[in-house]
Amino acid sequence: MAQSLLKAVDICKSFAGVHALKNVSLELQPGEIHCLAGENGCGKSTLIKIISGVYQMDSGYIEFNGKRLTKITPVEAINNGIQVIYQDFAVFPNLTVMENLALNSELAAKRKFVNWKRMRQIAEEAVAKINFHVDLDARVGSLSVAEKQMVAISRALMFNAKLIIMDEPTTALTKKEVKALFEIILKLKAQGIAILFVSHKLNEVFEISERFTIFRSGELVATGKTSELDDKKFTFYMTGREFENKIFVPEKLSEKPVFELQDLTLNGYFDKVSFQVRGGEILGITGLLDSGRTELALSMFGLRPADSGRILKNGREVKIDSPRAAIHNKIGYVPEDRLSEGLFLPQSIGENIIISEIDGLTKKGGVYDLDHAQKEEQRWVRELEIKTPTPANAASTLSGGNQQRIVLAKWMACDPDVLILNGPTVGVDIGSKHDIHEILKKQAKAGMAIIIISDDLPEVLSTCSRVLVIKNGKIVDEMDAQQATEGEILEKMM
């Protein structure tokens, strides 16, 4: 049997008495594409940091290429051929592509003086390895997310990498870019480089990886060939629960539409979008990353007011030119990126929940009704089952799934008639994802009109009753969720 490239055996790691990893093991062959999956907090980041030398393991051992590695530093990991590409790519946005590529190796060679010609040579060689065409003199900050990732990968390849670890690499990529990334990964595999791919997206696991490993709560739960894995097993391994994917059937629809768009247009982004939503419905809007779906959401919420067209609420035209106007008209919006748009991370969970309804929490004379605010905080923590000992803790102390619940609570506290959600379960563990879907279905049954914008097709099909497909800024089709298939929708999207 050929020697494994990486063998991590019985790794244990604790932080301040809390077990992050309990006897986990991982094995990779050279040139293997391996997916490491698990919910937030399951320990996969910790293991990666141990392999790359950022953390030291408490017990267990790692063998790389037959050599036992003990107590390695990040520099030693790199020298052994281990490269990690983190989610933020660790690039310098204010420096050129050329500098970003050449900096690490020049510093590693302990150079003091800059030879720009040599820097350029190094950079040219680096991008040639993956056939990446880019303007070397462009500032990295001006590149797209996919291009930044390519820079990071090119840089990683400069150090004779044998193993490249990618942490959730497809989070911000369009479908086209994901395809391009997968092609690169196959090219790297052909060069004999192993890829350890951290992801929780089921379809990606199936599409690209040969073998998989799943962690849960710091323990190894399953490992094996991807060909032997299926949806149900995956979900079960990840969460320890079995979920039935019930399709949503709306009850008691309102007679008249609660929310309606007529020929809404934002120049350069979307054109003449029209649709109606009734109370009790969950409408899905799906499209590729650059189809205009996010701008449509922002227009409906007043962050990017439309150039022409009308928005009607309960049959009356309303002017939505700011988020305040939207909230005033009982429209809520759960944004795409909870970290930079949805949550005040260092502030308390409670304050995050009540901030959008705060003007309604006053007594006579404008005095802030602290009692009422506290009651609201506790109510929503309870109703949305936000796992925290007290609402006074900072929002940053919670996992992704719980954080998303805070954002949801914030909007539900405003008692909206229409709730728009953009990518509501991105980066959320499967358990919270399921719970959030149930919450939305319950709200719909109580009469709320819900619009979910998402490119997670299974999510769209299981939570929505109707699906609109948006492509290049135009609504190209409307489908019944009960009858449409993923394949059909994908076709219309691309």
Partner: protein, 329 residues
């Protein structure tokens, strides 16, 4: 015991300062008891600190939004020069001013402070100029206007009724200026604790983007904050006027940095999103007590005060560093 610990950690900055105050008071009691612990001394302190204490209060609000107000002194001097110009125009240099006119000059002061503060707010919230640059430019501009209006010299010939009144002590005990400070402090304290303004301010300072997405009126809040700061600076100027009985373009130029020092010492984070008025007031009191105490020691130059203020500030930061377990951003 846990409750005590929790209250302490919530108000850590305040209690740390109170501790230093207590130590200092004990030290002064042991060394210069007779000279320091006189009623007159405390009365003088109480009458002196309000002028820049007000600037610190305004500055605190701006810093909580993640900004800063470097224009306090410029606004203060501009205010007083406008007021004095009005007094001279209305009553002549040697005339006398009816006490009721005080309402008018305070109205003028508040109007000037609000207008200049609004200009700051406009630059910062609408044009998106970084606060440090906007307020710095306004400060420079207002100082320049003051120099032109006074010809660079001090102006001291004008009706002095206001100055006399406000330099007095009510019932011979409480300095009038202190009353002004307490009034403003109470108003701001009420706004922060009892209205939604405090929470909104804190969250706006934490992340302006998220605030926008949450439906907060960023522009309105920033305008309001800088207007209040402008008014505080203007009122500070009015107190300076009563103290010096004259106006000059560069009075109180050291107050800008002192105000920032106080605010940071009082626990307000320059990144925004955090701050308590109790901390700021405690910091003001601590530093004024330090200053007064040092003045009692004849051989120690009063310039050492500057040294101690700077050292205390850095000490506070270092203490923070060690207690946070090196979690600095």
């Amino acid at each position: 015991m846990n409750a005590i610990k929790r209250i302490y950690s919530k108000n850590r900055e305040v209690y740390r300062l109170l501790l230093i105050i207590v130590i200092w008071l004990v030290f002064m009691a042991l060394t210069k008891f007779k000279k320091f612990y006189t009623f007159k001394n405390f009365q003088t302190i109480a009458g002196q600190f309000p002028e820049f204490g007000l600037m610190a209060l305004g500055g605190m609000l701006c810093m909580m939004t993640g900004g800063i107000d470097l224009s306090c002194v410029g606004i203060a001097n501009a205010t007083t020069i406008f007021v004095v110009t009005n007094l001279i125009a209305t009553f002549g240099e040697t005339g006398s001013m009816p006490l009721a006119y005080i309402f008018v000059i305070y109205l003028i002061a508040i109007a000037v402070g609000a207008a200049l503060g609004a200009f700051n707010g406009f630059l910062i919230s609408v044009i998106h100029v970084p606060p440090i640059l906007a307020t710095l430019g306004v400060n420079e501009l207002m100082s320049g206007i003051c120099i032109v209006m006074t010809g660079g010299a001090a102006v001291s010939s004008f009706p002095k009724e206001y100055c006399d009144l406000f330099s007095n002590n009510i019932a011979g005990v409480v300095p009038v200026r202190l009353v002004v400070f307490i009034a403003v402090a109470l108003i701001i304290s009420y706004m922060l604790a009892k209205t939604t303004y405090g929470t909104k301010l804190k969250l706006l300072g934490t992340n302006q983007n998220v605030a926008k997405f949450s439906g907060l009126n960023n522009v309105g809040l920033l305008f309001k904050t800088y207007i209040i700061s402008g008014i505080c600076s203007a009122l500070g100027g009015m107190l300076m006027l009563s103290n010096y009985a004259s106006v000059r373009a560069d009075y109180g130029s050291q107050y800008t940095m002192q105000a920032i020092l106080i605010v940071v010492l009082g626990g307000v984070s320059p990144n925004g999103g955090k701050g308590r008025i109790s901390g700021v007031i405690t910091a003001i009191i601590l530093l004024k007590l330090l200053e007064s105490g040092i003045n009692r020691f004849q051989n120690v130059s009063s310039y050492y005060i500057s040294l101690i203020w700077g050292a205390v500030l850095i000490l506070a930061l270092v203490m923070d560093y060690f207690s946070n377990g090196r979690q600095r951003a």
